[in-house]
């Protein structure tokens, strides 16, 4: 009986060990679930766009819903200039959403509960946004760190704070997703352990709690994917529409 709530986060190797230049590139359960969610996204979108009907079936409705949701979010937060970045935001949202949702299945592995995965995505977003900003505005992009309408005495302090807050974006973005996923799954497993230890007489209370928490976790899984995507849009907005 596995009573350790951290047992679910163990990365295990599947198949043979592959080492290239001293780096372990073996196929793990983490990679398996990344592959599964990528295939799941492809399956949903393929089935949704296979035959375009006037009266949509379930999969077409789902893909249209997701498309409209993200398109509206991008135009609301980053304006019409962000339209070319729709595929990037959409795939980011879908990948995080499917990883979170696959993690909600019993005995599965949550890819986003490892900080290395979320940190990689967040650092990629920071670099991409910085490059886009410099391409669009040249060195004028540095004006982002110097807000207008600030007294000259305060300016050095504000600039340092702005730079620090800009550089800490990937940290907060990745830790937010990772901590939410990890804390939620640990909590579910702790309550699952209570069910076993209280036995058939007292186990009903934590069991009902566990059911309610699973509902909450599905909400959080969706919400964190949404927040991840919307914060990427907000960062993109800073780079595209320099308004300081």
């Amino acid at each position: 009986m596995a009573t350790n709530p951290m047992q679910q986060f163990v990365v295990e190797r599947i198949g043979p060990e592959i080492k290239i230049a001293g780096i372990d590139l073996s196929f793990t359960n983490s990679s398996l679930f990344m592959l599964l969610s990528a295939l799941g996204i492809c399956a949903v979108l393929f089935l949704g766009t296979k035959e375009k009907k006037l009266i949509p079936d379930k999969f077409q409705l789902l893909s249209e819903l997701l498309y409209n949701f993200i398109a509206k979010m991008i135009s609301d937060t980053a304006g019409s200039k962000a339209k070319p970045y729709f595929p990037f935001i959409f795939s980011l949202f879908m990948f995080v959403l499917f990883c979170n949702m696959f993690g909600m299945l019993p005995y599965s592995f949550t890819v986003t509960s490892h900080i290395i995965v979320t940190m990689l995505m967040a650092v990629f977003i920071l670099i991409a946004v910085t490059v886009i900003g410099f391409i669009k505005h040249g060195f004028g992009y540095l004006k982002l760190f110097v807000p207008s309408g600030v007294p000259v005495i305060l300016l050095p302090l504000i600039t340092v704070i702005e730079v620090i807050s800009y550089l800490s974006r990937p940290l907060s973005l990745s830790v937010r997703l990772f901590a939410n996923m990890m804390a939620g799954h640990t909590m579910l497993k702790v309550f699952g352990g209570f069910v076993v230890s209280l036995g058939i007489l007292g186990g009903w209370l934590p069991l009902s709690f566990s059911v309610a928490l699973t509902g909450l976790e599905v909400l959080v899984a969706f919400l964190q994917a949404y927040v991840f995507a919307i914060l990427t849009c907000i960062y993109l907005n800073d780079a595209l529409n320099l308004h300081h």
Binding site: M6, F178, N180
Partner: protein
Amino acid sequence: MELEAAKMIGAGIAALSLAGAGIAIGNIFSSYLSAAMRNPSAAQKQFPNLLLGFALAEATGLFGLVIALIILFAF
């Protein structure tokens, strides 16, 4: 004091930051509800902002939980 005991106490204190997240989430939903009662027609438009605020506030508390886990497992 034993190091093990100090670690446990430190982790427990770090988890207290979730109290702040609780206050924040309660505040967000109470403000949303009172504003929505005053002007129900504008409530639907602010719903995404409500969810965003909820997620941001909850994450801040969870940073403390991460500190607790680092104290417990990383050292």
